[in-house]
Amino acid sequence: MKSDMTEIKGKVKEYIHQAVYTDKDKIKDDSLIFKEGFMDSMGFITLITYLEEQFGISTGDADLLEENFESINAISDFVMRKLMN
């Protein structure tokens, strides 16, 4: 399970780093990617599409919460929870 989480986080991190318009070194695992302005609306919708395609999860209205998407850590946890359900 731990290796699954490591793999998920690696993929999420790689995606976020290539998707933002900033130096990737500035984005830590707990950086607040939306609050700090690293990603905008288009980035958010692209991220959701990526997560759905990459991990085969589906995102509904109830999932659109800050705690699910605010950072690389939060997104990885969210994907893991979705995969376990």
Binding site: L32, F34, K35, G37, M39, D40, S41, M42, G43, F44, I45, T46, I48, T49, T59, G60, D61, L64, L65, E66, F69, E70
Partner: protein, 330 residues
């Protein structure tokens, strides 16, 4: 030294509407007649509050005989719009003509391109029997998450189905729909050039600053008389200029998609009176705690709203930029 007024719910109101109208009218005369050296104004009229106020201001600035109102309906437009626009033109004694743009839009394959994207999200979508609209998820307003766009289709029996709109389909629907505003802009410039008039644009302050306009579409004009007015102020000016009550009372809509949709639902996520006050507070640097106290909100929610407004302003900066041309000889 000027000190800032304490924040209040009425802070947004124009104290002297007559004087504000005179200031706008005088500047329109200077800009259009003297600086641009055009003989009058052409304006697209939709029967909405913004274009009606701009129309009345233009009639006052240039005289009714130097203004041409143009109705620019297409097959998705509300039929009410034309009735209201014709009535408006009669009241101000201005000539109004109709230019139907459906054929031009079909030539651009506007409807076909839009429906292709809708069908990718809802394979059962049939443009002949279903209606469609896009909107924003309301939950994003007080959150640090950016807004998410949704697509809704309305079945013949009125049942609505909604899905989160994927990026590519969202972009295609918006790009296709923007043919409407850009076609209207082309037609307005045809008539403006033919008459040696200026094009009077109708966006208000919110539309300009929050990016609720189409670049080189309704954002393409020579002057924008209400570009610095909050919506509350636009309504004050409308009352003063005698805009018909049916127009003042009409809920602002996008009149862009086949299903009925208010501007609040599509873009603003807040009623205009609230949006005006929060935007004013945000752009004039009122502390969230002071605004929260007056508005009966929490400081945290007002701070989140401020961040949302700041994000809207930043992410739409591209729309307001003129073409960048200083690449050589700096």
């Amino acid at each position: 030294m000027s000190s800032k007024k304490p924040f209040s719910k009425d802070i947004i109101l124009l104290e002297d509407v007559e004087s504000a109208v005179n200031e706008i009218v005088t500047k329109m005369q200077v800009d259009v007649l003297h600086t641009m050296k055009r003989n009058g104004g052409v304006i697209g009229i939709s029967g909405g509050i913004d274009s009606s106020v701009c129309f009345a201001l233009a009639a006052k600035a240039f005289g009714p005989e130097k203004v041409l109102g143009i109705m620019l309906p297409e097959k998705d437009s509300s039929p009410d719009s034309e009735v209201l626009a014709r009535n408006l033109a009669e009241i101000y004694g201005v000539e109004a003509i109709k230019e139907e743009i459906t054929d031009a839009l079909s030539g651009f394959r506007c409807y076909e391109r839009r429906d292709e994207a809708v069908s990718k999200v809802f394979p059962e979508y049939d443009s002949g029997t279903h209606k469609m609209k896009i909107g924003i998820k309301q939950s994003g307003l007080y959150s640090n998450l950016p807004p998410i766009f949704t697509l809704t289709i309305v079945e013949p029996d009125g049942t609505e189905k909604e899905k989160i709109l994927p990026r590519n389909e969202y972009l295609q629907i918006v790009a296709a729909s923007n043919f409407k505003q850009r076609t209207r802009m082309s037609m307005l410039y045809y008539h403006a050039e033919k008459l040696h008039y200026a094009v009077i644009g109708t966006p208000n302050k919110h539309e300009q600053e929050q990016g609720f306009f189409v670049k080189f579409g309704d954002g393409g004009a020579d002057v924008m008389p209400i570009g610095n007015l909050y919506k509350t102020q636009v309504y004050q000016v409308a009352e003063y200029l005698g805009v018909p009550k049916e127009i003042i009372d009409r809920t602002p809509t996008t009149d862009t998609y086949t299903a009925e949709q208010t501007q609040e639902e599509f873009f603003y996520q807040l009623p205009f009176d609230l949006m005006d006050r929060y935007w004013y507070a945000f752009e004039n640097g009122y502390p969230a705690s002071e605004v929260a106290r007056v508005m009966g909100e929490t400081k945290e929610r007002v701070e989140a709203l401020y961040r949302n407004l700041e994000r809207k302003r930043k992410t739409t900066e591209y729309l307001r930029m003129s073409p960048v041309r200083n690449y050589y000889g700096l």
